[in-house]
C-alpha cells in the first residue's frame, strides 16, 4: 500500500503537467489568432491604469473619500452603540450581528446602507461628469484618438477606471466595518454573513455604475463640464426628492379605503410597487435591505395565504439572492442603457482639436 501511493501521485502529476502543456499550447495558439486584439487590450490596460492614477491623484476624489469615510465611521459608531437594543428584540435576524452593523440606526444618524445609497450616486457623478468633455476641451481627446486604438476604448477605459476605483473603495470600507465589528463584538463573522456583505458590496458597485454611466453620457453630450455635472445632479435630485413627491401626489387619490377588499389592496400595492421601482435608488435600497436582512421574504405584498404556516426564520442566502434578482437586473439594464447612449453619441462624433 505504501509503495503504491507515490506511483499514484506521480501519475496525477504527470497528467497535470501534460494538461498544463496542452493549456499552454492552446493559449499560445489563441495568442497568435488574437494577437491584434491582444495588442489592443494592452492599450486598454494602459489607459485604465492612467485613468485610475488620475483619479487617485485628484483632489475631488480625496475629498469624496474623506466624506464617505467620515460618514461610514459615524454610522458604524451609531450602529455599535445601538447594537444591544437591536439584538434584544426577538426578531429572526438577531443572530446576524455583522449585518446589523450595516443596517441599524437610532434615528439620529442614518445606517451605513442608507449612506451608501445617498452618497453612491454623488460618487458616481463626480467620477464621470467630466470624463469626455474635459479631455476634449483640453485638446487631449483628439490626440488620443489619433493613436491606433478603437474609439470606444476611451469610453471603456473611463468607465472601467471609475468602476475599479469605486469597487475597491466600497470593498475596503465594508471590510473596515467588519473589522471594527470584530474588535467590538468579539465574534468572527459567519461565512454567510461574510458572503452577504460581499454581495452587498457588489450590489453597491452596480448601483454606483449606473451613475457613472449616466454622468459619462452627460460628459459626451454636453461640452461644458459644469453643465454635465448639473445635469447629473438634477437627475439625482429628481429621483431622491421630486419623484417621491410626484408619486405621493399620484398615489394619494388611488389609495384604497380601510374597507377595501384584499384584491383592491393588492392591485394598489402592485401599481405602487411598479411606480416606486422606476427609481434606481429604490431598486438599490430594496435589494440591499433584502440582502442584509435575511428575514425579508418578499419585496412585494404577500397574502395571508402565502404567509400562513411559514416559520419566521431567516432565508438562506440563495433565496435572498433570488428575491433581489429582478432589482439587480433592473440596475444593470439602467447602466447598459446609459452606456449605449453614450456609445451612440460618441462613436460618430466629430472630434475637433479644441
Amino acid at each position: 500500500m505504501l509503495k503504491r501511493k507515490p506511483m499514484f501521485v506521480k501519475s496525477i502529476s504527470d497528467r497535470l503537467t501534460l494538461t498544463w502543456q496542452q493549456i499552454k499550447n492552446r493559449l499560445s495558439n489563441l495568442r497568435v489568432v488574437q494577437s491584434r486584439e491582444a495588442t489592443f487590450l494592452v492599450a486598454l490596460g494602459v489607459m485604465v491604469r492612467k485613468e485610475v492614477a488620475d483619479y487617485l491623484r485628484s483632489w475631488r476624489f480625496l475629498i469624496l473619500v474623506a466624506l464617505i469615510v467620515l460618514t461610514c465611521i459615524g454610522s458604524v459608531y451609531t450602529a455599535i452603540t445601538n447594537m444591544a437594543k437591536a439584538l434584544e428584540k426577538s426578531n429572526p435576524d438577531q443572530i446576524f450581528f455583522y449585518l446589523k452593523l450595516f443596517t441599524v440606526s437610532d434615528g439620529t444618524m442614518p445606517s451605513f446602507i442608507v449612506f451608501v445609497g445617498f452618497l453612491g450616486p454623488l460618487l458616481g457623478l463626480m467620477l464621470g461628469f467630466d470624463a469626455i468633455n474635459h479631455e476634449q476641451n483640453r485638446g487631449t481627446l483628439s490626440r488620443i484618438l489619433s493613436q491606433p486604438i478603437p474609439r470606444d476604448y476611451v469610453l471603456n477605459a473611463k468607465f472601467l477606471a471609475a468602476y475599479l476605483v469605486v469597487s475597491v473603495l466600497l470593498l475596503v470600507l465594508s471590510l473596515f466595518v467588519m473589522g471594527v465589528g470584530m474588535i467590538v463584538l468579539g465574534v468572527p463573522p459567519t461565512a454567510e454573513e461574510f458572503l452577504r456583505i460581499l454581495f452587498f458590496v457588489v450590489l453597491s458597485t452596480i448601483y454606483v455604475a449606473v451613475w457613472i454611466n449616466l454622468s459619462i453620457f452627460f460628459s459626451v453630450r454636453f461640452r461644458q463640464p459644469a453643465t454635465s455635472a448639473l445635469a447629473g445632479i438634477a437627475v439625482w435630485l429628481f429621483f431622491t426628492v421630486f419623484y417621491p413627491l410626484l408619486l405621493s401626489f399620484i398615489l394619494k387619490p388611488m389609495e384604497p379605503s380601510e374597507m377595501a377588499s384584499a384584491v383592491e389592496i393588492l392591485k394598489y400595492e402592485k401599481i405602487r410597487l411598479l411606480l416606486v421601482q422606476l427609481m434606481p435608488n429604490e431598486l438599490f435600497s430594496q435589494a440591499t435591505t433584502t440582502i442584509l436582512t435575511p428575514s425579508i421574504r418578499s419585496i412585494g405584498p404577500l397574502t395571508i395565504q402565502q404567509i400562513y404556516g411559514s416559520i419566521p426564520a431567516p432565508l438562506p442566502l440563495s433565496q435572498s439572492l433570488l428575491i433581489v434578482l429582478p432589482q439587480v437586473i433592473g440596475l444593470i439594464a439602467l447602466s447598459l442603457i446609459c452606456f449605449i447612449l453614450s456609445y451612440i453619441s460618441f462613436m460618430r462624433k466629430e472630434i475637433r482639436s479644441r
Binding site: 495588442t39 494592452v42 492599450a43 494602459v46 489607459m47 492612467k50 488620475d54 491623484r57 479631455e135 483640453r138 485638446g139 487631449t140 481627446l141 483628439s142 490626440r143 488620443i144 484618438l145 489619433s146 493613436q147 491606433p148 486604438i149 478603437p150 474609439r151 460618430r348 466629430e350 472630434i351 475637433r352 482639436s353 479644441r354
Partner: protein
C-alpha cells in the same frame, strides 16, 4: 515617379446646415514630399484632415492612405499616420516624458522601449532639459515641439500638421519648420502641412494646394501656380510720379500706347494692366511729356500675389 501615399477621391463633407465644407476634393500626395494645404480660415482644411484620420466621416468620396481606406479602417491608418492638431493638448499634470511614454504605449510599445524612444525624441526636439517638467509649465513653442515628438514616436510614414505654427514666436517658428523639413528628408516621411500662413508654406513645401471655400483652386509648385493663375496673359506695371496729377490726365498722357486695359490709382501708385509688356514705353512717354518719374516697376508674381488674388476672387 514616387509612390502615391495619400489619395483623395471626390471627397465631400456636408454638415447639417447643408453647407459644403469640402466639395469634391481630388488630391494625390506622393511619398517623401512636403505638401502644403494653403487656405484662409474656414476653407475646410481641418475638416479634410479629420476625414483623412477617420475622426469624422466623409459625406461622399474616399480617402486612402498607403492603400488603406481611412473611413473603413481608421485604426490601421492611425498606426502609420501621426497627427499634430493646431493647439495640441497634453495632460498638464504629467511631465513631458510621461505624456510621450503614454502615447508610445498606446501604440503598443513596451514601457522600457517607450521611455527610450521618448528620451531620444525629446533630445531631437530640444526638450531634454524639460523632460521631467510638468507640461502645464511648458511655453507654447515647447508644447508644439513636444507635439512633434509625440507625432514621431509611432515611427509614422505620414505626418499631418494642422496649423502647427499658430502662436509660436518667429524664431521658434523658423526652428520648428526647419525641423520638419529635416525630418522629412532624413526619415523619408511624407508631410502634409496645413496653414493659412503663406510664407511658411513657401519656405517648406515642395508642392502646394490652394483651398478656398471647400474647393481646390490650384495645385502644384509655386511656378506652376503662378502660370495657372496668370494665364489670361495680362502684364502689370506700377509707377508713381513726383507731380500730383489725376488719373484722367495720365490716361490722356498714355493715350498713344497700345494695349492698355486698365489704369487705376492705388493710393500711392498707379497700377496699369495691359496686354503687352509696355513698361519701357510707359516710362518713355511719361518722361517725354515732362513728368518726373519717381517709381516704375513691372510686377512679378510671388506666392503673396497668388494668394491675394485667389482669396479675393473667392
Amino acid at each position: 515617379m514616387a509612390l502615391p501615399v495619400i489619395e483623395i477621391r471626390g471627397l465631400t463633407k456636408i454638415y447639417d446646415n447643408n453647407k459644403r465644407v469640402v466639395d469634391n476634393l481630388n488630391l494625390t500626395i506622393y511619398e517623401g514630399e512636403v505638401f502644403g494645404l494653403l487656405g484662409p480660415n474656414g476653407a475646410g482644411k481641418s475638416t479634410t484632415i479629420l476625414m483623412l484620420l477617420g475622426l469624422t466621416e466623409p459625406s461622399e468620396g474616399t480617402v486612402t492612405i498607403a492603400g488603406i481606406d481611412a473611413t473603413r479602417n481608421p485604426v490601421a491608418v492611425k498606426k502609420i499616420v501621426g497627427y499634430l492638431p493646431e493647439d495640441v493638448g497634453f495632460y498638464d499634470h504629467m511631465t513631458g516624458l510621461e505624456n510621450l511614454v503614454y502615447t508610445a504605449m498606446l501604440n503598443g510599445f513596451s514601457r522600457s522601449d517607450s521611455e527610450q524612444k521618448a528620451l531620444h525624441l525629446l533630445k531631437r526636439v530640444n526638450l531634454e532639459q524639460e523632460a521631467h517638467k510638468k507640461v502645464g509649465k511648458y511655453s507654447r513653442g515647447m508644447r508644439q515641439r513636444l507635439g512633434l515628438a509625440d507625432v514621431l514616436i509611432k515611427n509614422p510614414r505620414v505626418i499631418i500638421l494642422d496649423e502647427p505654427t499658430l502662436g509660436i514666436d518667429p524664431s521658434g517658428m523658423h526652428e520648428f519648420l526647419d525641423l520638419i523639413v529635416q525630418l522629412s528628408r532624413e526619415e523619408k516621411i511624407t508631410v502634409l502641412f496645413s496653414s493659412h500662413h503663406l510664407h511658411q508654406v513657401q519656405q517648406v513645401c515642395d508642392r502646394v494646394a490652394i483651398f478656398v471655400n471647400g474647393k481646390l483652386i490650384a495645385e502644384g509648385n509655386i511656378d506652376q501656380l503662378s502660370k495657372q493663375l496668370f494665364e489670361d496673359g495680362s502684364f502689370h506695371t506700377e509707377f508713381a510720379l513726383v507731380e500730383d496729377v489725376s488719373t484722367d490726365t495720365i490716361q490722356k498722357a498714355l493715350a498713344g500706347i497700345k494695349g492698355i486695359k486698365r489704369l487705376q490709382w492705388e493710393g500711392q501708385i498707379f497700377a496699369l494692366e495691359s496686354e503687352l509688356d509696355i513698361t519701357a514705353q510707359v516710362g518713355r512717354a511719361l518722361i517725354e511729356q515732362g513728368y518726373n518719374l519717381r517709381y516704375l516697376n513691372r510686377k512679378q508674381y510671388g506666392l503673396d500675389e497668388i494668394y491675394q488674388r485667389y482669396f479675393l476672387n473667392a
